[in-house]
Each structure stands twice: as C-alpha cells, then as structure tokens.
C-alpha cells in the first residue's frame, strides 16, 4: 500500500481486489511453515529447570550428615575435667551404640536421597524430553498426512 491520499475514502473492496491481483500473479503455495510448538513450549521450558541434585537442602544434607554425637573425651587435669570425662564415659557406655547406628542411618539416607535426585534429573532431562520430541514428531507427521490428504481430495474434486 504505497500511496494513500489523505482526504478521500479508502474503498476496502479495491484493496481486496488489489491483493487478489497480486496473489494471482504469484503461483506461490499457501504458507506451510508452521510448527505445533505452542503446545510444547511450556513443557519444554519446564524441562530446563535446575537439576534437583543442586538443591540447597541436599547440599546441607551432605555437609552435616557426618556429625559425631559425643566427640572426643574432654581434656584437662582439674576436677571439672574429671567430671566431664566421667560423664562422657558414662554416655559413651550407655548411648554409644545408638549414636553409631544413627550415624550409619544418616549416611544411608544421604546416599539414597543423592541417588534418587540424580535419577530424577536423568529422567526429567532425558526421558521426558525424548518422549516429548517423539510426540511432537508424530504430530508433524500427522499434520503433513492430513494436509496431503486434503490436497489430494481437493485435486480429485476439482478434476471431476
């Protein structure tokens, strides 16, 4: 639309005829460059989220799982230190086994959570992405098949 006079009414019918004349001069096909990505955009974007094994809570777990419950026996020579050592020895005797089991349990828990996190990351970043790509490719094929069928149908109707 290179020129539009300012003080006269523009006739839309003339514009449509003008466009049709331009199209009649070009044998180009209707545009076909489309992709069904709008359906998948959001899903694919979700695929790109941060891996769960980088979550701060898992870092915290790795950092603090190995806590000794009682620590080494208190040092010193005075009566206060002697009392502390006595209490330590008493606690070690009474609860030491439980504390060691608790530590082993925490270690196993951290290892399990770690393994699960890595497995989840593998699944989300690979398996689901592959699945989506497959579905998307199927949709492309389906769309091409439908369009080709429509065109064949149109051609056969025109030929009659």
């Amino acid at each position: 639309m290179e020129y539009l006079p300012g003080d006269t009414r523009l006739d839309a019918e003339l514009v449509v005829e003008h466009l049709r004349a331009i199209l009649a001069g070009h044998a180009a096909e209707a545009p076909r460059q489309w992709s069904p990505q709008a359906t998948f955009d959001e899903l694919m974007r979700k695929m790109n989220r941060e891996p769960i094994h980088l979550h701060p809570a898992i870092h915290h777990l790795h950092h603090y799982w190995n806590m000794e419950a009682l620590g080494p026996p208190p040092a010193g020579r005075g009566p206060k230190a002697r009392v502390k050592r006595f209490v330590h020895r008493y606690l070690e005797h009474a609860l030491g086994t439980y504390f060691r089991q608790e530590l082993e349990y925490r270690a196993a828990l951290a290892q399990s959570i770690d393994a699960l996190a890595y497995r989840i990351d593998e699944v989300t970043s690979a398996d689901e992405r592959n699945l989506l790509e497959l579905v998307r490719a199927d949709l492309f094929d389906l769309a091409r098949h439908v369009e080709a069928s429509c065109e064949r149908l149109g051609a056969s109707l025109e030929s009659r």
Binding site: L10, V16, L19, A30, W34, A38
Partner: protein
Amino acid sequence: MSGGAHRAIAPHRAKRPTVALVTRHWGGGDDEESAATARLVAGALSRHAEVEVVHLSPTGDHPAGALADSVFRVHRIGIKAAMPARAGIARAALTRRGAPLGAAASALLDRLGGQAPGVGERLDAIEARAVVLVGHDQPWDHAGWAAAGHTRCIAIPLLGDSNALALDGFCRLLERCDVVLSAHPGEARAVQTVLGPERAGRVVPLDLAFTINRAAARHRLFGVRWFGRYVVLLRGFPTGAPRLERTITHEMLRAVLGRVSVAEVDVERWRITDGENTLLLPVNPSRVNLWRLMEHAVATIDVRPGGPLGREAIESMLLGTPVLVPEATAAMEHARAASGGLWFADLRELVAATKALLDYPLRNRLAEQGEAYALAHHGEMAPFVERLNGLVLG
C-alpha cells in the same frame, strides 16, 4: 404530613400497546447471536410496549400460560416432530444459493422442520398491535395466520445462510410483512431481490446497537503489553458458539507475521504468542475481556464460521480496530459497507491481507472508517430504541 393517612396517588399511565415476538431463539445468555438479537430487540421494544414472547421451543410440550422473564411474558410452544439434523442435511443438499426451490422440496423441508401448532391462536389471544418474527425458522402456519388477520407484521429474518430464501413459504411470509429488518447490507440485497422492486422499500436496516464499556476496554489484559504489537485471532467466542476447528492458523500466522504477536481467543483458552514465548492469559472468557484485547490490537482476525449478525466484527470496529473476516459472512458485509476491514476467501488471501494490515497508513485509515461506520449505525442505543419502536408500532 399533618394528620390523616397518606394515600399514594397512582400516576395516570396510558395503556401501552402490546407487541408479540415469535422466535425459536430465546435464552437466558448471549451464547448465540440470534438469541442475543431477539433479546436486544425485545428489550428495545419494551421501552414503549408490553412484549409477549412466543418461544417456539424444540424441547417438546410446555404448560399453557405465560411465564415471566424479566420484563417479558414468555409463552412456550413446543415444536413437534422436528428432525433438525435431517433438515439441515436436506437443506444443504436441495438448496443452491439464489436458486428457487420446488414445491415438493419445500414441503419436505417444512415437514422435517417440524410444526408448532397453536401459534396463530396464541397470537390472536395476545391481541398484539404488531407481531415481530425473529429468525427465519418459523415452523408454524404463518400463511394461514397472515391471510386471516390484519396485524402489523415485522420480520427480522437473520439469514445466517441465504439459502432460507429458497423456501416458498418463508418468501410468502416476507411478502406479507410490512417491514423487513435486515441484519446487514448483504441480507438486505438478498431479501430485496426476492421481494422484487415494488416491495424493496420495505427492507430497512436493523442497525442493532451494541453497548461497549470503553472505560474497561482501555485497560489491557494482564501480560499482553510484554508482547508488543499483536493481532487478535478469534477462533471460538463466545462459549457454545461455533468455532474454527482447524489448528493451523495460529501457528501459520505466527510464522508469517514475524515480530508481530498473535493473541488467540479459543473459547476458554486464551493465549498470546510471539516468536519464542507463549503466555496463557489467565482471564475469564468474557466479552469485556475480548474488548480489552481488541482495543489495543493491530487488527481482529475472525476465522469463525459466520453468524447471522457479525457482532464481534462490529464491536472491533467500534473500538477502532480493523477486522479481517471470511468472505460471504455477515461480518464481511459490515466490513465492506464500512470499508473498515478486509476479507479473505482462502489461506493465501488471509496471509496477504494480514500483512497488508500491518502497514500503518492502511490500517489506520480502515480503523477510522470502520469506527465512523460502526458509531453511526451501531453505536448509540437510544436512537436505535426509538427507531425500532417507530418501525414496529408504525
């Protein structure tokens, strides 16, 4: 107030005339253009008259007597033995645009459309000054009623498909009518052709007025501003109305428009997309929100199957946004009459016209012309009400 009981004195009020409105299209919402039109017309008439609606209901028998619906009294009469699916197929098979239908074919279509017995008697009982027939589906003995009485008769045919004009019975009814109100210029031309030159003057534009909430429309929908310039793609609106089933258009438009975004209205799923991002618009799929979307758009591209009125095209032009609509629809007739938009016959033309509308001088000129036309014909409710009452009451 000094002593004694206060007695309210009823103001003297002249008896208002009664208008009967016969239609198949009567519902609570505005899901269907024809139903919305019937209700708007009835509402406008109720300004100066008592409105009795004779609703030809497809759901069988109804109790005698009238029900109150807002300011209207509604008489429901069931349509018996209707076979709408077969009637639609038979009509599509038997009718060709502009070609008259034979007597046997007309009789067949009448039979498939069913019959609503007792409409004439009900109209006689109502004793209306005028009878308004809304919609071309009038499965009752209107020929007998028209021959017997001298009641003023007004038709609003709402021809979504001008094939209805091939039916003999309906054409005879139009000939009997004192006024035929056409929903758009194309419908007016078609009815004038059927009525012939001596009766062509009876065809008058309906020019239905639509109220737009401009204050609300000024506010963009949340999130839309991040997508820059955009076109509105109307695939399905409102809920329950016919929608375009093919899904190619949104993606194709996005591919060919380059940096212009596409905001798609697909019944309850509204989304806007540029080349990379898609935002699902978290909005109620209401008409006000559609106005908010259309007001700020480069153009409104309406790809839905054509309705009898082209309401959204008119509303878009009222909001100063040019339209791009399918050929041979009511919306196209408005766009052509207004020179307020373009139209297309196929996908190639849709793309070419969309690209043309991205040209600002052309787009702005069409927008100005469309807005001027829409404001003059569909923008003011008060003149429409007075004009319609004048036409109906005589």
